[in-house]
Structure formats: C-alpha cells, structure tokens
Symmetry: C2
Subunit: 515 residues, 2 copies
Amino acid sequence: MLTPLVRAIAVAAPLPCLGDNTGDIDRLKKVLAPQLGGDMPVVPYQRLSKVAVRFRAAGFAGAAIINDMAGTPVLVDFLSQPPKVLAGMALDLGTTHLEATLLDLSTGAVLARADLENGQIRFGADILTRIHHAAKEEGLFELHRAIIDSVNQLAAELARSSGLAVAEIRALSVSGNTSMVHFFLKINPCHLCREPYIPMVNAPDPCLAGELGLAIHPAAVVWLLPSVGSYFGGDLISGVLASGLDQQPETCMLIDVGTNAEVIVGNREWLIACAGAAGPALEGGVARMGMRAGPGAIEHVRIDPATGEIGYETIGKGKPKGLCGSGLIDLVAELYLTRQIDIRGKFRPQAAGERLIAGSEGYRFVVVEGKDAADGQPVVLGQVDLDALMRSKAAMYAILTTLTNQVGVAFEDLHRIYVAGAFGRHISPRQAIVLGMLPDLPLATYEPVGNSSLAGAQRVLLERQARERCLALAGKITYIELNVNQEFMLRFSGSRFIPHTDHALFPSVPFFDGE
Amino acid sequence: MLTPLVRAIAVAAPLPCLGDNTGDIDRLKKVLAPQLGGDMPVVPYQRLSKVAVRFRAAGFAGAAIINDMAGTPVLVDFLSQPPKVLAGMALDLGTTHLEATLLDLSTGAVLARADLENGQIRFGADILTRIHHAAKEEGLFELHRAIIDSVNQLAAELARSSGLAVAEIRALSVSGNTSMVHFFLKINPCHLCREPYIPMVNAPDPCLAGELGLAIHPAAVVWLLPSVGSYFGGDLISGVLASGLDQQPETCMLIDVGTNAEVIVGNREWLIACAGAAGPALEGGVARMGMRAGPGAIEHVRIDPATGEIGYETIGKGKPKGLCGSGLIDLVAELYLTRQIDIRGKFRPQAAGERLIAGSEGYRFVVVEGKDAADGQPVVLGQVDLDALMRSKAAMYAILTTLTNQVGVAFEDLHRIYVAGAFGRHISPRQAIVLGMLPDLPLATYEPVGNSSLAGAQRVLLERQARERCLALAGKITYIELNVNQEFMLRFSGSRFIPHTDHALFPSVPFFDGE
C-alpha cells in the first residue's frame, strides 16, 4: 500500500439540504476525515475558493486531492472524476545534471525519464562560483530562475512523453546537494562556503509548487530531502535510504563520488558522515573530456599491456563522445598498470608512445582518434585532467581514512561499502583500488548502488515511511567538518601517489618504484 | 497563563561552530521545540529566508514569533529583542459597524478601542444587496477591498492611539456573520441566500494577514470564529463563548438582536439554534433615526403618562443625535403604554398630540426637537420605522416560540436568557416584553451580555482553549433553517400585534382592546 506525497481520494458527500446546511468546505472535510485516519485536512487560504467551487460544480462527488505536508493532510483541489493518472515527479537536482522520472503514484510505475544539463552552468560550472554569484540578490534570483527553468523544461518533457499536461504533475520530490537546494528555494547560500559552513536550512518544510514558480500544478506539494550539513545534502540521505545503511546491524559505509566526496559510516545504532571537496575531475561536464554517463560515454577501458591497444565500451554501444567517471578511473588505472603514467600521475613520454602529444598546456593523451569518435573530435586526456583526478582520488582516500580513524573502525571491519554516484553507472572498484582511491579490500565488499539520489527521491514520493525516515536520519547523522581538519590535510598529502606513499596499505596493487 | 494566537518566545541558541553545523532554521526550531511542548514549529516558505536572516543577524538570540495555526506552531519571524508589546487586534466585523480593540497579548490588557462604519455600506446597507453585488467577480473584489480598507483604517487608528506601528499588530481575530466573513475572505457568498442556504465555508483554517491584503504585519495570523450556517455566524459563537451557554447544566437561551434575530437554546449536553431575518429596524444606521450605541445615542426613554413629557438618557450624557436599539424599544413600549400607538403599532393621532406631524411618507413623531438635539435636526420616529420595528419584534418572538416548540422546552423551563447585541448596550427586557418581543418571564431571567461578538474575538485572541471550544461548538450546534419553516410563518403573523394576538401569553402587559 503506497502512501504517496499526494493522493486522490474518491468521495461522494451527502447533498446539502435544509436539514444539513454544513458549508461546502466543511462538508468535504467531514467526508474526507474517516479516509485520513480521522484527521481533518487543512485547506490553505489560496486554495479555499477553488476547492469549494469545484466541489459544488462536481455535484459534491468526485476526487479530492490531498497533499501530505509534514504529516498534515492538506486539501488543495477537487476533480469531478478521479484522475486517470495521478503523476508525481522525482528529481535528482545535480550541480551539473538534472535527472528526473515521472511516476504513477497509485502504482509506483515509471511513466517517463528525462535528464538535462543544469541551466545554472552558464553562471559557473562549479558550485563555489555560483555561491559567489548569489552573494548579490539579483545573482541569487538569476540562479533560482535558471534552475526553475531547467526543472520546468524537464517537467514539460516528462509530461509530453507521458501524454499528460504539465499541470497534471501534482507532486515533486527533490534530492540535491545543500547548495542546489538553496538555489532552488531562492535562499542565500553564502554561509555554506565560509567557516563554520552553515546552511540556512537543512530540513525545509514542504511548500507548494506555485510558491517557487514551478510550471507543474501550482498546488503540487514540493518535498525536499533534508541535508545534514553544507557538504552533506539530501542526495546523500537518498543514498542512505537506497542502501539501507541505517537499518543494518553490521557497520557499513556509503561513498558518493562526485564533485565532492561524501562518506557515511555506521549501522542501525549510529551514523557518522563527512565530506570534502574532491575536485571536479569526476564530475561529467567539468573535466574537458568528461561527460555524464549517457549514450556515447566511454564507461570501461582496457589497455593491452603487450600492444598498448586501447579497448573501450560506450554506453549505448555507439561511437564515443567522451569519458564518464567510471571510464576515467578505468583509463587512468590502466595507464598506470601499463606504466604510461608514473606514481605521481604524470605522463611518461618514453612509455606512452605516439598517442601522447605535447602542447602549450602540457601533454595530451589521445584515447580515441577523431575518425573513430562520434563528432569527429578525438577523445583526449590532458595532464591537467590527470592532475585533477589525482587530487580527487587523494581527497577521497584521505576522507575515508580520516573518518574511519575518528570512529575507531578499521576498513577490514566494514561489512559492506556501497558506492553511489550518478557520474558513472558502474564504477569498477578494482580500478579504483589500483588508483588508491578506495581501500584494498575484497571486491565482494563493494556494492554499487547507481544513482541513489534519484532512487531516494522516488522512494519519498511514494512512501510516507521513507519521508519520516529521512527526517529522522537527518537528525541522527553526526557530521564531521573536514575542511579545517589537520589530520585530513596530512592524509591528503600522503594519498597523492598511486596507489599511496605507504605501499603496505595496498598489497594487491603492483608498485613501480624509483622511475 | 495566556495562550494567545501569537507568542514571542525568547531564545538564545548555541552558536554555530564546526562541531555543530545545524542549519540556521533547524537550529532555531530545535531550541524552540522544548518551549512548544516538544512540537517542532513549521516555517512557511514565504517566511523562511526572512526568519533565517534575522535570526543570524541577531546573533542567534532574541525572540521568535510563533503563530498558533490550527494547533500547529508556525514560526514566522525573529526579532533581536523581545517586542515591548506584542499586540493583537480583536474585531467585531459587523454588517453596519466594525468595532475593534487592540490587546497586549502577554497580559490581556486593552491598549486601545476603535469603531468605524463598514465601508461596504456604499454598495448597499443591507447584506442581501451586497450578496447580489458580489455575484459578479469584480463586485466581490470591490466588497472585499472595501472591508479590508475599513479594517486597515481601524488597525491604523488602534496602532496610532497605542503608539505602535500598524505592522506591530501580529494577530487578528475576527468575529462576524457568515456573509461578512465571506466578503472578508473574498469568497463568493451567492449560495448563502438561496435555498438551502449553504456557506462556502463555516470554519476556515487560519491564514496570514498578507494573503488578505491587510496592513497589519503580513505574517500576522488571522483567526476567524467559525459559523454554523448562513444566518448563524461566528458572532453568535462568540455569544455562546461569552455567556457560557455551552457549559451549563441548566437549559438556557441566548438571543442576539440585530438585523437578524439569532437564537440558541441548550445546555452542556445539546445546543440548537435558529435565525431569521428580523428586518433592519434595530440595526443602527439603517432605521432613519437609528444609530449605533455610542455618544449621543438615546438609550433610554420614559414618557410621563400624565403630561406626555418625554424623558431620555443619552450615552455620554450629551445632546441626542438619534436612537440606538434599546432607546427605540423603550420609546415604542412607552408610546404603547401611553396609548399613542395602537396594538398594531400604528400612531393614534387623537392621542399623540402635537408631537405627531403628518407628512408625505405618513406620520412622524418628534422625540426631541431640533433646538435640543446635537446637530439641530430633530430626532423623529416615523410610521415607516415603527412598521419595521413591528416586523422585527414579531420575527423575534416567532423565532423564539418556533425554536422552543421544536425542542419541547417551555419558556418557563429556561434558567436564564442571555441578551446580546451590539446595537444597544442595555436592552430593557421589561420594555421588550411590553412590545411582545421577548417572553413574559420574571425579569431576573434576563441577563444582558453586551457586545459579545467583540468579547468572543478577544477571548480567542488570548486563549487556545477558547479557540478549541469554538471549533467544537460549531460542530455541536444543530441549526434549524427558519426561512422556509411554515410554523414560523404562522407564528410570525400572530406576533404582529402588541404584545400578541394571544394576550394570555403576556399576562403582565396591559392590553388595550377594541380601539
């Protein structure tokens, strides 16, 4: 039995007569209450007249539209017939990309999927630039307008491909990082990036779509997954929800790899999290040849150690356009294993052969030649991109060691490590271990959970229990700020080698010394 | 201990630090919850940014402003210092007049009083004309604008005389008849005057002042006393509250005399009500010389049976301007007792002497000559006014007998009869009995309760229990529609004489037969 964010409840009220002169709204509330567990629904002032007029016009029978807002049933509309489909939109509100699904809220079935580049990118690819842009009020308004426009585009596309009007979308759940949620709500994020890194709000109360300028039904309930801190957003809470980390007896870990590396460790008793800027290397659209996991993205790479020949797989099996996160990790690990880069992540010209081209910005390695690529442009990996990846992987491992050290848990004690991240569908834990990004544990310890941000948004769209769990979770997670952590900085320096300065930490990875 | 509609709660939150990165709003909610009985307050979207910015600007300490909205604590503002006075406005939203007080919500003290003619009168003195005017949307908007303008004027006056800014008024309670509440909320009242006489809403949920275009603080909570039916409004619920009718073991009655005669009978077990159009005779500002109980209104009249000399008392002891309801009842009763009018309420020229003047619109009786009146204009009572009063008093008695008959209660069984009505401060039950308006019972049975509409509005402004009692009451009262009641029509005809066609019903009143 689903308990979605919005429900259509069929009612047939007794007709008004001289012996029963209950007001229209009161009459409707009265017949609804028994179907709402005895709760009287609330009618917001701006919907009062519309609901009353439609209820009467429908002859006092039809379907009441009830939002679940912070546990309170809110009566927002009335239809003469129950809607053929009661549709809700789940949204992964990413810094770079938005991904959304439209769900049939009575069955949970996916009606449509869509994704779109975040329209805010024209104000800055990375989130810090945007936060600075939002320091002025008009900047914040621009960023808000840009993200709302993008969400409206997505909603229109979802509606079109489902044969619905966009105003038939009557609920929206949003899973995003803390900064994106601030932009979405048009609230100033300026304190997010200044010590002590405080959001304006972690768990905003639900609101109505019309208040945000969204094109879906103006009385659609908008529910945002709560965040825990500036660098631990609702997208991570989604990950916990999707992995079930918070319900397990054994201690497990969840890692989300993106612009930020976000990590949470714990079990059903306790949960501790931290996050750090991992650099933009792994985020599609930021690294020069990086792209989101989508058609044409190289997601797996193999280099023949004997011939140096490069084999790859693209999503959709078509010609390659670029590298998504998992492809990038594969490529760099293979470059290391074939000794074309050294332990510091620098190209070795003597080994890399003719694929390596020297240019004004340093070396560039041609992964796919222009003639074999989708748009005629070669897919290349520059030294600049490599350096960025090295910082990212170092940050990730430093975060993992700092966090586990803080709670006194050894990597070996972890029952399971869930790897989330929308940037690559299938991160290969083995290749990430080779790079020294993830700890050298048996591969069975790792379990990919895909785009858990979207999965979480879908869950909260459909299940009240999931919504309550999210709110409880946000209050339960202890967040450790790493931006100013000295231990982290030390560990970061030690991790800027492949796999690590302390080779004993990675016994399974070949170590090529002294070149 | 008062539990007003809005409270200022002093808080000093722990400062944000790296070890405590709770979001600003979440931080504030967390320190508030223990002071709200453990309830987490809700922050409406339109107040989110303002509250967060002010909380931070105040150094995370000051006073949170919390509305009590349908039992839910709603956090709407933050001040760096607790306000010197937290002010709330109680409003009696009358068809003809508005009356309001400004209260200090922490003590219940009255800071200021004000009253004003209802600005809607230019669209029609009686409510039916206005309801017809509201049939077109622009008509409804005009009426809404007019009443909001009047309320804003009153609020400005209250603020001025209390030395406050109008935006410092942070709550408003409204007690009005059902039609006035519809106009106030800008919802169409067209079904109120058509069988089966159904309001759009009886118990609207509270809203914020900004949503209605009010000039008081935009986040001020607006709480409306619920109504029971088209002709039984929140003003009557106020009367029940003020009289305590709903808490008494003995069966009592409450009568509100105005444009409509509204009656409720019952005890702590049951309550039955009805109402009927009593005609405009008793409403100040409608009868030609009628006026509201205020300075210059004649509120008591005596006629010397020997000399015919008229003695009167005015409110404020100044020169007379007109007659308020109680003065009108006194005058007509005295005219009957001195046989200057007959049992049908017609002037007897042979007895009335030179005060009676024949004119194109029938006889006019000079109560006060121009030289003795406040503005040089004589205070007169026309035959037209007398006829209207006769209809009113007949309607009132017919309503009382119909209602008691329906519930099987004799007048003698009533422990107490409360007489409410803003139109006159002190209705004399004796004179009302002479006219046959009220039943011929010992005078001790009658207890005047004054302007209980305003008193009720004040109670709900200050006490949560009173608010809950109102809502429970509105659901508990059985309403009988008299507009189509045959028994009522028969009883109405029998009551169009002084005191009544059946003289046995009024043994204490002299009966002058056969003239």
